[in-house]
């Protein structure tokens, strides 16, 4: 790689981009003009509106059912309120007739005064204030009314105390005084720390995405890419030159945005007068965050460059960017969630790590080891992604992809191959959405009947329907084949060891991503507390889930990947099985079990073996949660907080032996016959 060449490319790209009015406007002009306008405009509008609201006339209706001296005092106090108009009372008051008036904002509040005697014989004026919380004016009326009522109460209580000759002071038994020890900059840090990560991440990615899609996909679109590919510049020089361009523009965008925001922010604070002198932005932390933004910007730039290289034109690049942008925005919002603390596990999740770290830095409360870990880790990811970009840049199939609309053709074609990867993935995602939206609502009503309905209607029947309608031979597709009975015995032998392997691995994952207590409780409840008792659970979670889920995953979905080969089809269908559980904590354990089932299927060529293994696995879980503490072997699994880690070795060995025997006793199938 020649630095001089890289700089030639970099300088040309910068010149080209800075001459592009669109880039200059969106990246540089907008932030400089937009934020001050938005922020200052918004804040002045806000204070203006509040003022206007304050001056607006309010109409209220008072229904006084007591009409004694004190209740009239209450009425009088309300009448005294400025801008309040009291509706003329009518003789026959029906509350139900008046509530709609409040609801449609014809009047702002309805006040009903009744009396009642407390147990000690004192009169209590029950004053009900009906108002419309969804209306600003009505809410303001409510606030004013409650303040007025508190004043009346103060007077009435004073009167009563005077009558029995007690000093008012007696009421001040506990005087609460608030003292906030957080220094002002920490308060600002606390407020900014929540939304700054989100803001920075959005700024970074939006700044980089426009440029990135233009730099390679745009060159393909305009036909200039080939000209530089045949030039004497090397591919990696081209990639790095373009990469530096994206980083520069993105960094400039972030800096300009922050600068403009900072100025607007201080302007607003200075407008607010006194507050500004007390509030100080933690500038040292800002500087650290800016340094930290570099690796994040480089990572985004690298990913966006890869996307751009892969895409045929700008439009395609932009549509590939969408999931990345949405995903990043969602992950960046982790800083808003209470209780999420940066730990080793989160430090390894891109974006989440920065979001939490920036928040901690704003609070001046960060772990320096995590800081270095995150920077190092992100740089590592950078290198990997840039290597991918260079690889893409060397791939003629990527650079010269013809502009065919795959997805459109796929939809338009009359006859579909139901085992094509695309179609299988489509079915998978539709069922996944069905499980989430429909199954979820069924299960929230009643967990067991919901599960039964989900298994049958969302998991089993769609597969049967697809196979039926495409006139596929169900018996051979699903592999409803006879098999060596020994296979079932082997699946049984492997069941407990497999469970242990998965449990220990799950435990290891727990170390990194701790599972909340409430979640564990919830899972336990699912597995034990069914109305029909133990056998009912076995029937639904064991038998039914075994049959339905195996039909979908090992009967149908695995076929979509068989052209990728034996192991790849097992791994992919296993991971999809893991995703299908819609639960990040069970993703890895369920994927591993899915792979084991996939192996059993392809090796024995009979779906009955994985169905049986699935049934045994699920049932074992129920047995352990229900009776585990009474059965010697399962006792550790059920009661111990932590299964000893060394268990994984004997358990793994047994699973491996079973794997070898299964391989041995079943005839080898050629991959084409799969």
């Amino acid at each position: 790689m020649n630095l001089h060449k890289i700089m030639i490319i970099y300088r040309k790209e910068m010149l080209d981009l800075l001459r592009d009015r669109r880039t200059v406007i969106t990246s540089f002009v907008l932030p400089v003009i937009l934020y001050p306008l938005l922020m200052i405009g918004f804040s002045s509008m806000l204070s203006r509106q509040e003022h206007v609201l304050e001056k607006q006339e309010m109409t209220i209706y008072i229904n006084n059912q007591v009409m004694d001296e004190s209740s009239l005092l209450i009425e009088k106090e309300l009448e005294k309120l400025e801008t309040f108009q009291i509706m003329e009372p009518i003789n026959l008051f029906e509350k139900a007739n008046y509530l709609p008036l409040v609801e449609d904002n014809s009047i702002q509040a309805l006040i009903e005064i009744r009396d009642s005697l407390s147990t000690n014989g004192y009169l209590v004026y029950i004053t009900t204030v009906s108002y419309n919380r969804s209306d600003d004016k009505s809410t303001l009326a409510y606030e004013k009314i409650t303040n007025a009522l508190k004043n009346v109460e103060f007077d009435l209580v004073g009167e009563r105390l005077q009558k029995i000759k007690i000093n008012r002071e007696i009421l001040n038994a506990v005087d609460i005084k608030e003292e906030n020890v957080a220094p002002p900059e920490k308060m600002v840090g606390f407020a900014l720390g929540k939304f700054l990560p989100y803001l920075l991440i959005i700024l970074t990615i939006s700044g980089a995405s426009v440029i990135a899609s233009d730099l390679v996909a745009g060159e393909k679109e305009r036909g200039t890419l080939e000209t530089i590919l045949v030039s004497a510049a090397r591919r990696n020089e081209l990639v790095v030159g373009k990469y530096l361009t994206i980083i520069t523009i993105s960094l400039l965008t972030v800096l300009l945005n922050l600068f403009s925001m900072y100025i607007s922010f201080t302007y607003i604070l200075s407008q607010a007068g006194e507050v500004a002198t007390k509030l100080q932005l933690p500038l040292g932390n800002f500087a650290l965050i800016l340094v930290l933004m570099l690796p994040l910007i480089t990572l985004f730039s690298a990913i966006l460059l890869s996307i751009s290289t892969y895409s045929r034109n700008i439009k395609e690049a932009q549509s590939y960017q969408m999931p990345l942008i949405f995903g990043s925005i969602m992950l960046s919002m982790v800083s808003f969630l209470p209780g999420f603390e940066l730990n080793f596990g989160f430090a390894l999740i891109p974006i989440v790590n920065f979001s939490l770290l920036i928040r901690d830095i704003m609070l001046s409360n960060y772990n320096i080891q995590y800081l270095f870990l995150i920077i190092g880790y992100t740089i590592l990811l950078d290198i990997i992604v840039i290597a991918i970009s260079i690889k893409l840049f060397n791939s003629e199939s990527v650079l010269f992809r013809t502009a065919e609309e795959k997805s459109l053709k796929f939809w338009g074609k009359g006859k579909k191959d139901i085992f094509s990867t695309q179609f299988v993935m489509l079915v998978f995602f539709i069922l996944l959405l069905g499980l989430f939206y429909i199954g979820g609502s069924w299960q929230s009503k009643d967990i067991m009947s919901g599960l039964i309905k989900s298994e049958i209607f969302i998991i089993l029947l769609p597969v049967i329907f697809i196979l039926r309608i495409s006139k596929t031979n169900i018996k051979s597709t699903l592999r409803l084949n006879k098999t060596n009975p020994l296979n079932f015995l082997l699946a049984l032998v492997a069941a407990i060891p497999a469970l242990i392997v998965v449990a220990v691995l799950g435990q290891l994952i727990n170390l990194v991503f701790p599972i909340s207590e409430s979640y564990v409780e919830g899972m336990k409840n699912l597995l034990t507390a069914s109305d029909g008792g133990f056998w009912y659970s076995i029937l639904v979670i064991g038998v039914l889930a075994g049959i339905c889920e195996e039909t979908l995953f090992r009967g149908y979905i695995i076929n979509g990947f068989k052209k990728l080969g034996f192991w790849k089809s097992i791994i992919i269908s296993g991971v999809l099985f893991g995703i299908f559980h819609l639960d990040p904590f069970r993703l890895i354990p369920a994927s591993l079990l899915g792979m084991w089932m996939g192996y059993l299927l392809l090796q024995t060529n009979s779906i009955f073996v994985p169905m049986f293994a699935h049934f045994i696995n699920n049932s074992l879980t129920i047995v352990i949660t229900t009776y585990g503490d009474k059965i010697p072997v399962l006792k550790t699994l059920a009661t111990a907080d932590i299964i000893p880690y060394w268990y994984i070795f004997p358990a793994g060995l047994i699973v491996y032996l079973v794997y070898l025997v299964v391989e041995k006793i079943n005839p080898k199938i050629e991959i084409n016959e799969l």
């Binding site: 060449k5 030639i8 080209d16 001459r19 036909g223 080939e226 000209t227 045949v230 510049a233 003629e396």
Partner: protein
């Protein structure tokens, strides 16, 4: 010099079938010679030239440019090659001069040399009055002249032009053809592709007719006229195309 040896390129089509875009092609272009690749659209001209320019890799066979292997020494090949593909674009926000300068730097040409090259090519291609205009504002013909200039700014010994006159007016086309002639006279080795017979006749020292990825015939126009006993260029080409399909039929029969 270009030496093409059994060059073959196979594309996988959507229906899974293989398409032999270039099928076992072999020919030589000498120093100081203009060879025209003549063929209809889709004959394999562009694919062949793209392999020579190292942006596509052949499935089998190879070629050398100035003695450098396109597979093993692609960097040297590119440094010795000026390649203009038919449908390439230019950076619309740069001026003509900036464009040519940028490519000159990419080819490691030093600054004074770039400046003198620009003036030299501007003389020959009549580019002086638009050198400092943005590409955006140029006509199709002007853009094509800039494209040619940027592709040979480094004064390479080997030049490949893929349909450089397609879609141009007569005056510009003639200017470009004259320019290419001039290059040849300066000892360059030129490979030129077109589907326009008259242009091929005017410019070519030798012609390589290709059809469906294969060579139909090779030689000067006089050779081809003698061989076919035909005079009209179109007729000669059609004669060879018919001949080849007859051969295929004979083979299958």
């Amino acid at each position: 010099m270009i030496e093409v040896k059994n060059l073959t390129k196979i594309f996988l089509q959507k229906n899974g079938e293989e398409l032999f875009a270039v099928n076992d092609l072999s020919f030589i272009v000498q120093k100081g010679e203009i060879v025209v690749l003549l063929g209809v659209n889709g004959a394999g001209k562009t694919t062949c030239m793209r392999m020579l320019s190292t942006v596509l890799k052949p499935n089998s066979g190879t070629a050398t440019v100035e003695g450098f292997d396109i597979l093993k020494q692609s960097q040297q090949v590119r440094a010795n090659l000026g390649y203009l593909s038919g449908d390439t674009g230019l950076y619309s926000r740069l001026t003509a001069r900036e464009t040519i300068t940028y490519f000159g730097r990419l080819y490691d040409v030093d600054e004074p040399k770039i400046k003198s090259r620009i003036l030299e090519m501007a003389d020959l291609l009549d580019m002086h009055n638009f050198l400092d205009k943005k590409i955006d504002l140029l006509s199709t013909g002007m853009k094509q002249k800039v494209s040619i200039a940027r592709s040979i700014v480094h004064d390479p010994p080997v030049m490949i032009f893929d349909e450089p006159t397609a879609g141009l007016d007569i005056l510009t086309a003639k200017n470009i053809v004259n320019f290419i002639h001039n290059c040849k006279e300066n000892g360059k080795c030129v490979l030129f592709s077109t589907h326009i017979m008259r242009e091929a006749e005017r410019i070519a020292d030798r012609i390589v007719m290709i059809h469906e990825g294969k060579i139909l015939a090779e030689g000067s126009w006089d050779d081809l006229r003698t061989a076919t006993q035909l005079h009209d260029l179109d007729d000669i080409f059609i004669h060879f195309v018919n001949n080849s399909s007859r051969e295929v039929n004979d083979e299958s029969a």
